[in-house]
Symmetry: C2
Subunit: 345 residues, 2 copies
Amino acid sequence: MNKKRTEIASLGEFGLIDRLTANFKQHHDTTLCGVGDDGAVVTTKEDEELVMTTDSLFEGVDFDLTYCPMKHLGYKVVTMAVSDILAMNARPRQLMISLGISSKIPVEALDDLYAGIRFACAEQEIDLVGGDTRASMTGLVITATATGVAKKGTITYRSGAKQHDLICLTGSLGAAYMGLQLLEREKRVLADVANPEPQFKGYEYLLEKYLKPRPRTDIIDLLEEEGIVPTAMIDLTDGLASDLMQLCRSSKCGARIYLERMPIARQTSELSEEMHLDPVIAALNGGEDYELLFTVPLSMQEQVMRLGVVDVIGHITAEQTGCYLVTPDGGEIKLKAQGFPEQEA
Amino acid sequence: MNKKRTEIASLGEFGLIDRLTANFKQHHDTTLCGVGDDGAVVTTKEDEELVMTTDSLFEGVDFDLTYCPMKHLGYKVVTMAVSDILAMNARPRQLMISLGISSKIPVEALDDLYAGIRFACAEQEIDLVGGDTRASMTGLVITATATGVAKKGTITYRSGAKQHDLICLTGSLGAAYMGLQLLEREKRVLADVANPEPQFKGYEYLLEKYLKPRPRTDIIDLLEEEGIVPTAMIDLTDGLASDLMQLCRSSKCGARIYLERMPIARQTSELSEEMHLDPVIAALNGGEDYELLFTVPLSMQEQVMRLGVVDVIGHITAEQTGCYLVTPDGGEIKLKAQGFPEQEA
């Protein structure tokens, strides 16, 4: 292997920014000024409100470059930001990327990072409008700031869930977490091997969920088609238990979710078994699923079921009743934000 | 000294965010949803456009905690973001702060950081609407994302300068750079002293310009009162030479600025002499002044002079003539983005 290696210093800050931000297509006429000025300029249509969000990823904490390809990392940071926009029932429009880069990173690695960002922006019709590139003393730091828009009155907050509302969930739980466990295992096993050949066969879905998670824009489309505006919504980043508890905290309510209704993919169960882990732990506490958790009034049960891609996993209760996982025998396990939930009574 | 030290882990992420974001006042009814959801929600008035910008500061690269108090750092990061908004001839409205924090930082230090952010937000009537807090393996990383608004048609880009336009500058040059030199000198001198007493007397202005730079909102007010919309504008962050060259690059033009018109404060000259530095280097290449550099048509000369707080330091020329500093004897020194400018002919 003799990959070309261009030093960042040879391009200079402006040469680097020009190179990285080339070939991005603009999708929205509400983007008035993009990369290259002190700020980006955007506007909204008359009946729209603007949503903004910002997220950072730190090397060594949020990602490991030994098994996280730069291109996937670029795609994933866009998913992170877009997922927050979707969780407000809004649609993404603009993106700013701030980088902290150490001099040890060659320009080609940043090309790959931006290839992933460019792919995600094209797929999700997002305009790259700016950012900032600085030296970092240590690892790579990527901050994504995204905007989105929603028609007035359709933005969904975390705080709107009401007693008896149904708790709905897209996709499956814990797959990204198990993908990460698999990557960590192969890294340990192959640490001293000259030509490592990691064993991923049969677990491709888990790897994709961890390395290249897709934001659930399709769900926002489906909800709109069905005329459903959720009462509350949050995206799954910290694990179902933690994120549901946040929604309940904002909505001043409690929740009951049912163990037998947890959507757990076959590969998640199989790898859990192989690694002697409880798949329920992965489902409740595994982060980075980037699925959507939302609530709708009980009267909408049929409409939600008709979507075909949503599981109803429980319902909202009064605040003082707390947040619990109900087991098939009727036992109740108190949800905790971290670690395995404590068994109660 | 026995300052209270609370570990971040004892509060948890949500406890920490609640503590840091308490006591922020909201100033604008266009802020529809602030801290505490997946995203912030904002709107603009009918005749307004929105400006967005993002900037990061990295410990060890952009600041040194041995002499940069946390409260000043909080103030300064808001100035950085606001200054970019002002440079678009817009006014700041909302702010998001993303932190990367190492576990060695006590909660009290973050309280101080947010006290500075809170002070700046109150002074400049900005609404804190969100952010993100994550672990960082090493130093502190602070990312500020700001929004601002301007009436349609009044946003000023870097790209609008025309031949013969006047080059105007607020404040003085190189003071922040000399403030940094002073702090670095005292750090070196007092490295091995038990109870260091740094000597700053007579240089308070330089320290304030480095540690607590104020964004030039007053200039945007004055320009509006006088009915002046600059043809191009940029804020001074990388040094006059570099920032002027960026403006010229965007506007596809050249520039002549005059050495005898460089506004250099007395303290800047005095400390430069004391440290055997050329104050012109500080003026041309010293960064972080957060002053505004803008261009207006020649016909507005009288109006600009009437502002009383702006120096006309040169004029815009054709692109092929390049960017030069003109010395009193008529010599021309080619401007360079970094280091001392090369003498030409």
